[in-house]
């Protein structure tokens, strides 16, 4: 064997675990779920599975619960993604400031809540947001405001889940922080000499230089929003209350597959999700091609 063929053989030996896993746990199931989405497969009577053509997709288009799942997911994304983006960038800028005492302690403490198991943090927030006994409405009462029933109100449940989501900003904050630290400080100094104020420096230096990271975090937020499950499940024990306001698309899929045992139909919903996430990600990258600034020039 020539040295280069020997090297290639070793390379394949080492990456083999991933290739095998990719075939077994990604490509195989991906194809299988596409096939299942054209059947009425269920686990109770797998032998009775029939091909139903596009029936599952036709049913999905008319299913008010799927529509509700998508609307709920979109509503939540519309509130949560901007809020968490602003909060994580804002806190990253705060803990990046050289004027702050004890910066590393602040970084650690703002990061920490992401380490709390989601079930536990959701339970903590449910207690905090309880309309009668929770501290938040207690504090609001002190200033004369009667707070809403956060988790049982079809409107307020989205801000409530957004608040819960704020405990998950740790990773985003650190990624922004790394980005902020890579902005050359000469740029700010030059801008200051030219008489730029903090806002125009933020808009004209920080934002453009951070745009690749903003794009990256936006894509990740989008993907996680479409997989949103644990908090919604814990909040209502999987019921999607109030009035299906927390019936996220992923929760609907879970119920179709594992409660109603409509596994062919749930596979079709899974593919719908995949296509939506793929489409949105591509759309983001297309929009970003014009707006994202890459320091290395054209890539």
């Amino acid at each position: 064997m020539t040295p280069s063929r020997r090297e290639a053989a070793w390379g394949f030996v080492f990456v083999a675990p991933w290739i095998i896993g990719f075939l077994l746990f990604t490509i195989g199931p991906l194809v299988a779920s596409l096939v299942l989405s054209f059947t009425d497969f269920n686990l109770v009577r797998p032998e009775a599975t029939r091909f139903v053509g596009l029936d599952n997709y036709a049913r999905m288009a008319a299913d008010p619960l799927v529509l509700q799942g998508l609307v709920v997911t979109a509503k939540f994304a519309a509130v949560a993604i901007p809020v968490t983006t602003i909060a994580s960038l804002g806190i990253a800028m705060l803990v990046n400031s050289p004027r702050l005492f004890g910066r590393s302690a602040f970084r650690t403490l703002f990061y920490m809540p992401i380490q709390i198991p989601l079930v536990a943090s959701t339970l903590v927030w449910i207690g905090f947001l309880n309309p009668e006994t929770g501290w938040l409405n207690g504090l609001l009462r002190l200033v004369g405001i009667e707070g809403p029933d956060w988790t049982n109100n079809a409107t307020w449940v989205y801000p409530a889940l957004t608040l819960i989501g704020l405990w998950g900003i740790g990773n985003m904050m650190l990624v922004y922080l790394a980005g902020l630290q890579s902005v050359p400080s000469e740029l700010y100094e030059a801008a200051r000499i030219d008489g730029a104020g903090p806002w125009s420096m933020f808009r004209r230096i920080t934002i453009p230089l951070m745009s690749p990271i903003l794009l990256y975090n936006l894509v990740i937020s989008l993907i996680t929003t479409f997989q949103y499950f644990t908090q919604a499940y814990v909040l209502t024990n999987g019921r999607g209350d109030p009035n299906n306001a927390t019936l996220f698309i992923n929760l609907d899929l879970f119920r179709e597959a594992f409660v109603n045992n409509h596994m062919g139909y749930a596979s079709a919903i899974g593919w719908l999700l995949f296509v939506i996430v793929l489409g949105l990600t591509l759309a983001l990258f297309l929009v970003a091609r014009k707006r994202v600034y890459y320091a290395g020039g054209e890539t």
Partner: protein
């Protein structure tokens, strides 16, 4: 007079820089104060949780109860125990023991000094509010511990996390080494595919995987939570590959000249030099597994003996939803291990996130 003014002059001219540095200090102090306020608001639910978990179950629903863990205050007078009430006397409110109840007037004794003459107070004692004394209790933790078979849950959660971390780190190190050190056809496209799997929603592969695992008899066992991790994942491979690439190739070549094969180089050159990255990957994966909810819910919900903490806590919550003190105690107990380990190993964690920029 003049002499004194003259003497002050140099000091006066020093004052410029002094007050400038003082002003700078004030600026930093107010920024820090602002950060403290934000942080307090951010972590306030944690304080609420600790407080609630130390309370008696009924305190939250008792009118007039304070926000801290407390029980109705009592005092002793002539060997007997009496409840303490907040009594308005002469425009001030005093906390006094109610020793003799009456419809129109009652007798009170100062618990701080019971030897004083009892105070007779005009009015109905029923209109008075009870006084509360700070009294944190640990019995909620004991209740949760025994009701949930907590030691069993801790063992299950840790065992699943350790096994799946072992598989993930081992396999990801091999794959990362392959991508970092060898040239082979299709390497770049394979690496792009690997990274692209990050955006693949897990739901799209969920149902066939579940069906196959059920067919294999793995439903209701730990295997679905462990075995797939022995086949590497994008996040771990990416982090480790980045790190391996930063190790000079001269070291590999020196080892090759000494007759070491690729496995030997990985074991005795690359891995020993990658301890920080291996630590970060292990910690991330361990707690990803520790905190995971969806897959244990799917495969272990009906198996109390094999369950992990997150689903047991969720089921417990559904059962005791009206007992916030117990729920908050259970949440505190669930987060204790991850949070303590985080504080001990925070540098490794936070560096790991920044190295990859990839979230799990």
């Amino acid at each position: 007079m003049t002499a004194r003014a003259d003497a002050r002059l140099p000091a006066f001219s020093d004052r410029g820089p002094v007050s400038r540095s003082f002003r700078r200090f004030l600026g930093r102090a107010s920024l820090t104060l602002f950060a403290v306020m934000i942080l307090t608001a951010f972590l306030l639910p944690l304080l609420a949780m600790v407080t609630l978990s130390l309370e008696d179950a009924g305190q939250r629903t008792t009118p007039g109860a304070p926000i801290y863990p407390a029980t109705p205050a009592t005092g002793t007078y002539q060997g007997e125990s009496y409840a303490i009430y907040a009594v308005p006397i002469d425009g001030a409110t005093r906390n006094l023991m109610l020793v003799k109840k009456g419809r129109a007037q009652s007798t009170f004794v100062d618990p701080g000094d019971p030897s004083q003459t009892p105070i007779v107070w005009e009015g109905s004692w029923r209109t008075l509010e009870q006084a509360w004394a700070f009294d944190p209790k640990l019995n909620n933790f004991a209740t949760v511990w025994s009701q949930l078979n907590f030691p069993r849950l801790l063992f299950n959660t840790a065992a699943v996390a350790v096994l799946s971390t072992l598989g993930a780190v081992l396999s990801s190190a091999l794959v990362a080494y392959g991508f970092a050190r060898f040239r082979f056809p299709g390497k770049n496209i394979l690496f792009v595919i690997l990274i692209a799997t990050i955006i693949l929603p897990f739901q799209v592969t969920l149902i066939p995987t579940y069906a196959v695992f059920t067919k294999l008899g793995w439903n209701g066992t730990w295997l679905p939570l462990i075995v797939p991790h022995f086949f590497a994942n994008a996040f771990n491979v990416f982090l480790l590959r980045q790190y391996f690439l930063s190790i000079p190739r001269d070291l590999d070549e020196a080892a090759t000249i000494d007759g070491a094969g690729p496995f030997r180089i990985l074991r005795s050159v690359i891995l020993p030099l990658s301890i920080p990255a291996i630590t970060a990957v292990s910690l991330f994966h361990f707690f990803f597994s520790w905190n995971d909810f969806f897959l244990p819910l799917l495969y272990l919900a009906g198996e109390p003996e094999l369950q992990t903490l997150p689903i047991a806590i969720q089921q417990y919550n559904a059962l005791y939803v009206s007992q916030p003190s117990l729920i908050q105690a259970s949440a505190l107990m669930t987060m204790a291990v991850p949070v303590i380990v985080f504080f001990l190993a925070q540098r490794a964690f936070m560096r790991g996130v920044v190295v990859t920029g990839v979230e799990k």
